[in-house]
Symmetry: C2
Subunit: 352 residues, 2 copies
């Protein structure tokens, strides 16, 4: 496990709670043999004691060193190796292909690899296939919600995707679900920021780039060879505030409230609500933008910071398939990574 | 493939459309070596031509014979055997355990096995584990919707199920979604019957037994050792109409409309709608009954014959995970069976 922040830490707690049970009742013997963060690492010949990994890591005299970490994990005497990248780093993703080639399976919630240049995306998959290793990333979209597996199942069985549409950002979901006309956009953004529901710099959410990344990942699952630039993204960060500091941004954001207030009242006059929605159709047309929906639409009843994804396909045509629920947060994201780990075990022969 | 009705026939069409592509681009070599219905069967040494299986089956001189069919499918010179039971028969399910024991994997949308006596349920799983074979049945609940895999992922990774609740019958979904106060219960039931949305005898849906079966299947996934009798089922078939013929039933059903009309107007007075809902909580308390929901509840916005399932867990607590969409019909059910077949291929070593 690389990364001991909220997701990595939560995953290690979830593993600790289940590891004995999985060994005893399912015959699956997971051993965490290395944990690394940006500063240090701890390596175990057999397996780490997950009850006190934090103490061992902080007491460790080993400086973080990616190469020796990888060599340790990929031990010849063990049947399978898997590396869990629980960071948001774009640096680690550059190593994925070589790790797959040396025999390591990879699981990650990190979107940076799948949303990067298409040539690297394809090359990574070819390496995985050639070396018969797995690269699993269900949590890239919707965290623990069944999105990517579901989409892949539809495509592999010959269903035809007509449109995928959804509220793909928990942050933007919260902001739009909370704008009730009484509070301006800026007030809701500041509230979301103070509740820790946005990135430290909320412009990373409000720019729509995170939604565009998720669209690209879904598009590529659909077999479309698309780059990020192909997504038409409506940014909610006004041009004159893009260079400001975070504090300046939060303090002066209000001067652009009028634009969204006008959209909101126009939608309300038509009995509709606003949502920030990512959409992709069968031609590969992709957009991330503010849209309005009537009150009886599934997207209108969204609350909190829920994600929602609607799959309209040849089989699910007049009535789409819809998955909804929290699409971010350490517990559900770590749970989704853990589910990928169990899926990997199944692929490698673990009994049902 | 046993069963050439709507589901089996659609599955064979879906397979035909994908089989070459899966072989060429995924390295998965599926061969349909036998097809059987209640009267006849057709067996192929290599594989059947799926473009003309109907002609071959009707021209076949071989009378349906389960034992020779099974022996043919479980050929020693092929690496893996899988039997797809696309019937609704309770007779075939009695053979599952012995088929698993002789080395055949089983995939089925048929609920009869999983909803049968718990002793047989447990024994079947022990046979699968002992002989290292797979028994897959994602389509038992919600057809192609990701319900059972999702639940299993939550449980296996240590999430705690607080409540599973849902509209689990497409027929009852349609009936309750269509009752708008202008038309009585009996009128909507007759319409659903004439549209082919109910069983030939609509009492099979209206009795709630199908919903109870799905609850039992979910309960057992949760590790609860429950029998069908444990579900408190509210039947919508009045006692005096249980022995009637289908025609008599449909013609006289109206005399009990008043009861549901009263429930409906009382719900409407409170700004609520009625839904027929199956629910199971962490204590194993199970009920299938009419409940009322406020208009902003996810169940209230249901349309058509959609299913909806809400998973409330320790991780998905204040905001549950929700899956919604068509939960019946040949295309989506066959697609779900096909997805199980691909899952089986992955478990048996097919590349990602």
């Amino acid at each position: 496990v690389i990364g001991t922040g909220l997701i990595g830490g939560t995953l290690l707690s979830q593993l600790q709670a289940r590891i004995e049970e999985l060994k005893r009742h399912r015959g699956i013997d997971f051993r965490v043999r290395g944990i690394m963060n940006t500063r240090k690492m701890v390596l175990a010949d057999r397996h780490l004691n997950l009850e006190r990994w934090r103490d061992e890591l902080s007491a460790s005299s080993k400086t973080a060193d990616l190469e020796s970490f990888i060599n340790h994990v990929n031990a010849a005497h063990l049947p399978h190796a898997v590396l869990i990248d629980a960071t948001g780093s774009a640096e680690l993703t550059g190593h994925y292909e070589s790790w797959l080639s040396t025999g390591i399976n990879i699981i990650t919630p990190n979107k940076k690899s799948n949303a990067g240049p298409f040539a690297a995306y394809r090359s990574l998959r070819e390496a995985a296939r050639k070396h018969q290793r797995y690269f699993l990333y269900e949590t890239n979209v919707g965290a623990g919600l069944p999105i990517i597996q579901t989409l892949r199942g539809l495509i592999d069985t010959g269903d035809e995707i007509i449109k995928i549409e959804g509220v793909l950002s928990g942050t933007l979901s919260y902001i739009f679900n909370s704008m009730d006309g009484r509070r301006g956009f800026s007030e809701v953004v500041r509230e979301a920021h103070s509740l820790g529901l946005t990135e430290p710099d909320p412009r990373e959410d409000l720019s729509g780039v995170d939604v565009a990344r998720k669209l690209i990942i879904l598009a590529r699952e659909m077999g479309l060879e698309k780059e990020m630039e192909a997504v038409r993204v409506e940014s909610m960060v006004a041009e004159d505030l893009r260079a400001a500091t975070v504090d300046e941004y939060l303090n002066t954001l209000g001067k652009h409230d009028q634009k969204i207030t006008a959209l909101l009242s126009s939608a309300r006059d038509n009995g509709q609500v606003l949502r920030y929605v990512g959409a992709i159709d069968s031609n590969g047309d992709m957009s991330a933008r503010i849209r309005s929906y009537p009150l009886d639409h599934a997207f209108a009843s969204l609350t909190g910071s829920d994600n929602i994804v609607s799959f309209q396909t040849a089989r699910y045509n007049s009535q789409p398939m819809i998955v909804r629920g929290p699409g971010a947060g350490p517990e559900v994201t770590a749970g989704g990574v853990f589910a990928d780990l169990l899926r990997l075990a199944s692929f490698l022969g673990a009994p049902q």
